[in-house]
Symmetry: C2
Subunit: 361 residues, 2 copies
Amino acid sequence: MSGNVMVNGSVKKDYVRPLDFKNGRVDMNHGAGGRAASQLIEELFLKAFDNELLRQGNDGAVFAPPALDAGARLVMATDAHVVSPLFFPGGDVGCLSVHGTVNDLAMSGATPLYLTASFILEEGFPLADLRRVVESMAAASREAGVPIVTGDTKVVERGKGDGVFISTTGLGVVAAGVDIGGANARVGDVVLLSGTIGEHGVAVLSQRESLQFETSIASDTAALHTLVAAMLAAVPGAVRVLRDPTRGGVATTLNEIARQSGAGMVLEEAAIPVLPQVEAACELLGLDPLYIANEGKLLAVCAPEHEAAALAAMRAHPLGAHAARIGVVTADPHHFVQMNTRFGGRRMVDWLSGEQLPRIC
Amino acid sequence: MSGNVMVNGSVKKDYVRPLDFKNGRVDMNHGAGGRAASQLIEELFLKAFDNELLRQGNDGAVFAPPALDAGARLVMATDAHVVSPLFFPGGDVGCLSVHGTVNDLAMSGATPLYLTASFILEEGFPLADLRRVVESMAAASREAGVPIVTGDTKVVERGKGDGVFISTTGLGVVAAGVDIGGANARVGDVVLLSGTIGEHGVAVLSQRESLQFETSIASDTAALHTLVAAMLAAVPGAVRVLRDPTRGGVATTLNEIARQSGAGMVLEEAAIPVLPQVEAACELLGLDPLYIANEGKLLAVCAPEHEAAALAAMRAHPLGAHAARIGVVTADPHHFVQMNTRFGGRRMVDWLSGEQLPRIC
C-alpha cells in the first residue's frame, strides 16, 4: 500500500500487539503513515489481497507489460463506491467495489488485468466490519482472477465519512478487432439484456429501510467479464455497445447510448425480465424497475443477424441464463427511447432526472 | 466519466439551465447517474480536463499501448486525498491529488502516462469550490503533461463526507534497466534529499488552525517526475531507491527503506535543509520537521561513487535546487535510523508512532 512497507521475511520484527479485530476500531493513527498504518496494512490488507505485486511494498506496483497483439489496446476505468448500508443481501461494498470496476473494464470488451484500491475510513469504524469488507473484496478479486496490486488508506474524523468508501481502478486489455463503444449502435441493431433487472437496488433499499419482503431479494452483484468474453468469442465483431445498467438503471443507460449513437430505441416491455418479487417490491415502493441500479447485468447492442448466436452464448453462461432481446435501435432524430407496453400502448422512457435511490453503489 | 456520455457535436441538445457555479451546491442528484450527473460531468469535468480519451464518454478510457522497449515495465499507483482544509497556502486538494499520484509513479522511476480520478462529494458543497478544485487539478495535470482520462463522481449526504475526497490512480512506464525499489539500498550508499522539508505540513496546519506566522509558509506540492527523469539520465543505474516523504515525513520514510533493505542509516542533522520559518513554526507548535509531510520532495538512495553527479543533476532542476546529502546507509541488524545532531550527539530517529498531523494529504 502506498508509502508503506512489507516486513522482509529475514527481518526481526519488533513486538507489536496484534490488531484487535474483535473489539478494535479504526483510529486516526491508522491513516497517519506511521507504525499503526503499517500494521493495518500488514495484518489486514496484505494478508487478504496477498499477491506478488502487492508484496513489492513500494509506492506503486511495477509489472511486465501484458503480451499484446498488434491492434490491441489498454483500458483504464475507475469507480468510487459509497453504497449505504455497507452490507446488504447478496453483497457488500467490498465485493461491489471489485465487480463495479471489473465490469467497467468488461464493458469496453476488455480482459481485466489488475485493480488498485483506495480506502477512506471513518474514525471509529469497527475493525471487524473493515475486515469483513476487505475479505469480501479479496474473495471477489480471486474469483474474478483480477488481483489488487496496490492501494492506499486514509482515515477521516468521525462524522466526516461514513464507515468506508472504496475507490477502485482497473487496467485491462482490449483485443485487436474489438471495437465496443456507446456511439456504435446502428439503426436496425438489436438490444439485448443479460437477465432480470432491479435486484441490486431493491436489495440495498430493503436493507436500508429495514423492509421485509415475503421473498428475500438479493443483489445481483457479479463480475461480468467472462460473460463478455463468451459473447465476443461467439459473435466476433457483432457486439457494438456494451454497458452495465448501474445508477439510473436500464432506462438511463439506454438513453445514454441512444444519445451517443444519435439514434432512437423501441423496447418491448413484455420482453424485459423482472423477478416477481422485485416487481411486487417496486409496486409497493412506487419505483420503476427500469430506473433501478443493477450490478451484475449488461446491455448489449448487437448486429441483428447475430442475435440468435449472441443470445445463445449469453444463455449458456450462468450470468446470462435469462438473457433476452428487449428492443431494437431505430432512426430517430430526437434520440428517444420508447417502449411498447404490455397493454398495447407506447410510452416514452426518459432519463432518470432526479435521484431515485441515493448511494446505491 | 463512468457510465456517462458526451454530447455528440451533431446532436441537438435539450435546453437545460446551466449549472450555477456562483451560488449552486452539490445535491444528491449530481451523483445519481441521471441528467444532473451528466450535466455536472459535461459542464465541469469534461470542460476542465478536456482530452481525447475522456471524450470517448464510455465506462473506461481505451488507448493504444505505449511503445515499450524490451525490459520496460508498467506501473500503477493510487492515492486517496482527504486533506483538510481543502485549500491551503500553495495548493489545494485538486493539485495535490495530481501531484500525489504522479509522484508515486515517479518514485518507481516511471514516466507517468495517464491518471484517473474518482470524486466523493458531500451534499451541499458549493459548486464554486468544486470548480476551483477541479480547475486546479486540470492545471496540475496539464503542467505535468499527464491527462485525466476517465473518472467517476459520487455524492454522499451532508455530514457523511467532508466537501470533496479525490482518489487518483496513475499508469506509468518504467524504462528498461531502471530498477528502483525500497529494498535496494546497500551499505555505503548515500541518502540524498531534494530540498527543504516540512513546508506542506506546516502550511496545511497553519491554515487549519488559522495560525499567522510572520513569514507565510506555502506547501511545496509539486510533480517530481521531471526531477526523477533528470536524475536517472545523469546517473543511469546509480539510483537505487526513490521515495517521497509524505505522511510520516523523512523520518518514517527512511525507517521504511531501512526495514525493507535490511540496513541502518546514519543522518547528519546539520545537512538536512529546513527553512527558518518552518523551523520557527515547528518550535512554536512542538513539532519535529523530520516527521512532517512533504508533497514536493524526494529521498534518493544512490551509489556513493555517483553522489556528486546525482546532486549536480538535482540542483540543476528547479525542484532540486537545495538538494543535499543527508546521510549514509550502514550495516545494522536492527535497521535503526540514527542521526548525528548539531550538538555532536547521536540520537535515534524512530518511526512516527502516532498521529502527528491528521488529514495532511
